[in-house]
Amino acid sequence: MTSTKRFVVIGAGGIGTWLIAGLARMLEWKLPGSALIIVDGDNYEEKNKERQDFVKLGNKASVKANELTPQFPSTTIIPVPKWVVSDEDTGVSAGDDAPRIKASQLIREDDVVFAVVDNFAARKILFDAASKLNNIDVFTGGNDDLLFGSVYHYQKKDGIEVTEHPVSFHPEYENPPDKNPGELSCQERSKLEGGTQLLATNMAVASFILGRVHKTIVLGQSPDETEIYFDLGLGKAEPYNRKVSQVSQPVMI
């Protein structure tokens, strides 16, 4: 187990801020010397305070990095105040100079990536880039309105997929029903709504992801509970084993 891994969090919003709060502490004490890279092109606004953890207005990546750096001296915290886009992105509208970074330039071998954005389109971009690498862990999570949420862990080792690419079970990753904000114009981005999400569900997604990180990265155990669905209203959580060795069963018709 190396203690100098890069942990790349894409999205410092409703889930991301709580995830980052826990991850910074986990890295500082369990994996000192690691790098925590926070990526987000968006800004904190007053209206975000209901569900998001921040102390200043401004670019999300920069605000969080400035806030956490003095607290966690054994962790190198790096802000990337940019939107993540696909390799094919060429910019969408003249005059929109929002900073962008291609996913393939952002993530690299041996990274642990967290796709905690608010749309499937950006998740697909990150999974597509990750699947071209030989050694990578990608955790993603999201919630619907109210109390339902899910998390997924994609892992690849030595060029072999340990867990299935989520597109195997989720057509929404193949044909996203939404758009990546990083590939929209400023005007289009300003019209996006966060929906009616709940703080508790955002925090639960972050907590489930942290639990998976502790088991599979800190302790180095097998990602058997690859995907977890939960419903806070029902008080239920259900793990699914998406390991390649587990799901490859022939169908007899």
Partner: protein, 83 residues
């Protein structure tokens, strides 16, 4: 041997198979029934959408597929989107 800690394996040979949808997971006496029949039986309890694709492993199942003893049939639940 793969050690699966979370995939319930219903006893084969007694008509039992497993049906899953999101947080729901229930063994039932549904071997011999079609996917369509299983959907109708469980959709009332769990709210499975009519267009939710059924999977066994990562293979998509036809509506007329006859569920076998020991099968794990999973109806697709869309992942959480927002964050």
């Amino acid at each position: 041997m793969d050690q699966s800690s979370n995939q319930q394996q219903p006893a084969a040979g007694n008509g039992m198979a497993n049906v899953r949808f999101g947080v729901y997971n229930q063994p039932g006496n549904i071997a011999g029934k079609s996917v369509k029949d299983a959907r109708e039986q469980f959709s009332r309890l769990w709210g499975i959408p009519q267009d939710a694709v059924a999977y066994k492993g990562k293979d998509k199942l036809d509506e007329n597929y006859v569920i076998q003893p020991g099968d794990n049939v999973e109806f697709h639940r869309r992942a959480g989107e927002k964050g």
